[in-house]
């Protein structure tokens, strides 16, 4: 565990010492300033739209941080050759993968906390409502969803040779699941065989990332979802995370590393 937490610590340090990380924070600040300006319109609907845009940008920013951070971990270790002094220590390749995953996930979580804090404080100060519980649930579910995404990207990073290819493919897959994932079973029913069966199979195989999205409940000031739902969703995310990390380990464990 020492090794995994040390590796994760290096990932987090790298993230907060890189300049590009702060660009997203500046963007968040700009978004919140924009939201603050909406006070002048005195229109509840406009505030709702701005909240929706804000939440969408928070989701996109978190997704970008998660994918780009996770995608460069293993390739950067190989390209900068830092993996050689690392693997010359009593470290297994499995520990490297888990450490990189954990570091990327925690770093994304820290960024997500900051985003949600900004969103929560500013929307709360405008509406004089403090729906802490639903925001906490939204944050938690989004973070759990990102664990699946990060594990998928880590798997991609040991499979594809170029990080750019991995980022592009993972971004398309994740956005595809988020937008059309839930409709796949309906599409399958309208198709002839065997296409229908194949689409059905895909529907049951893919991780349904859209199930973690409760931003509409946040927008329309709905009550929080039952905690059992959060627990089941977390277990579902952990299951897929474990599957992708296991696949990454299978792909990486015997891979020759050339100095």
């Amino acid at each position: 565990m020492n090794t995994i937490s040390a590796l994760a610590g290096v990932v987090i340090k790298e993230l907060y010492r890189r300049k590009d990380f702060y660009v997203l924070f500046v963007l968040t600040a700009l978004i919140t300033v924009l939201m603050g300006m909406m006070r002048f319109f005195n229109d509840a609907k406009i505030i709702g739209y701005v909240k929706e845009i804000c939440l969408m940008l928070v989701s996109i920013s978190a997704l970008v941080i998660a994918i780009t951070t996770a995608a460069r971990q293993i390739p950067a270790e190989r390209e900068n050759r830092t993996i050689f002094p690392l693997l010359a220590k009593p470290v297994t390749r499995g520990q490297v993968l888990v450490g990189k995953f954990l570091g990327s996930w925690l770093a994304t979580g820290i960024a997500l906390v900051v985003f949600y804090l900004f969103f929560g404080i500013l929307s709360g100060s405008h509406e004089n409502r403090w729906p802490v519980l639903i925001l906490l649930e939204a944050f938690w579910l989004q973070w759990m969803m990102l664990s699946v995404v990060i594990a998928l990207v880590v798997f991609g990073s040991v499979t594809f040779s170029a990080p750019s290819a991995n980022i592009t493919i993972c971004m398309i897959v994740v956005l595809g699941i988020l937008t059309v994932g839930e409709h796949l079973n309906q599409v399958a029913m309208q198709q002839n065989q065997p296409v229908g069966s194949i689409i059905s199979m895909i529907y049951f195989l893919i991780p349904h990332l859209e199930w973690f999205d409760i931003h509409k409940l946040v927008l329309f000031n709905q009550p929080p979802v039952p905690w059992v739902y959060c627990l089941l969703a977390s277990l579902y995310a952990l299951g897929y995370t474990a599957v992708f990390l296991f696949a990454a380990w299978l792909a990486f464990r015997h891979k020759p590393l050339t100095a």
Partner: protein, 270 residues
Amino acid sequence: MMKAKSASLTSMDSARDPEGSAVIQIQKLCVEYAGRGFGQGPTLAVKDLDLRIGQGEVFGFLGPNGAGKTSTMQVLLGFREATRGEAFLFGVNVRQPIARQRIGYLPELTYYYKFLTAEELLRFYATIFKIPRSETERRIDALLDLVELGSVRKRRIRDFSKGMQQRIGLAQALINNPDLLILDEPTSGLDPLGRMKVREIIQRLKNEGKTVFFSSHELGEVETVCDRIAIIHQGELRVAGRVGDLVAKYHTDLEKIFLQIVGYRAESSS
């Protein structure tokens, strides 16, 4: 049951190392690279290599570029799996990460996290070896003093010169107080002072009874510091023995022995 198990382990160890106390044991090692082009067959980088390095030895591993030195080191360090044969560190198969618990490795070029400071880098590697915190701080102080980087301990590695990066590399290789130090071209890119420092450290480790295994193209340096050497060429071990014995046998210096073994002929002699 336990006794039977430990007895069988002992007999296995003696089978691996009949002479006992081998720090590095390589048996019939073969490393093969798959052909890259269409119809291109595999390339044999290392062929049936046998080596045994005992405790307290300073061992020079020599060969021209492409001879198979790096491939052998990659197998020892777990970066690559052997196609055939076995390699052991302290009697433990190199396939097991625990085999690397007692070794330090200095790569030829500096491959460290450039966004970390010198002391953060050493602390990171100390954590991997599970060294207690108070001991870690003591070792970091001692090693940074040894490599004369104590004054820049809080500076990020990206701001270090090449020589400073090589010295922090040496410090990280020593963080676990290793019993075996594997050095890949340890003095490449160093100025004469840096080279002298590396030689002093190798000598000091030898005096402490540690084993040093290193590859180098600096034959004069090898002749100065090594007890034994091995010359590998085209993946095969061509010669191994004590430096003094080889010099006496071939009636010439190490450089000429090396050139003779790799089949070099000067233009004037052809």
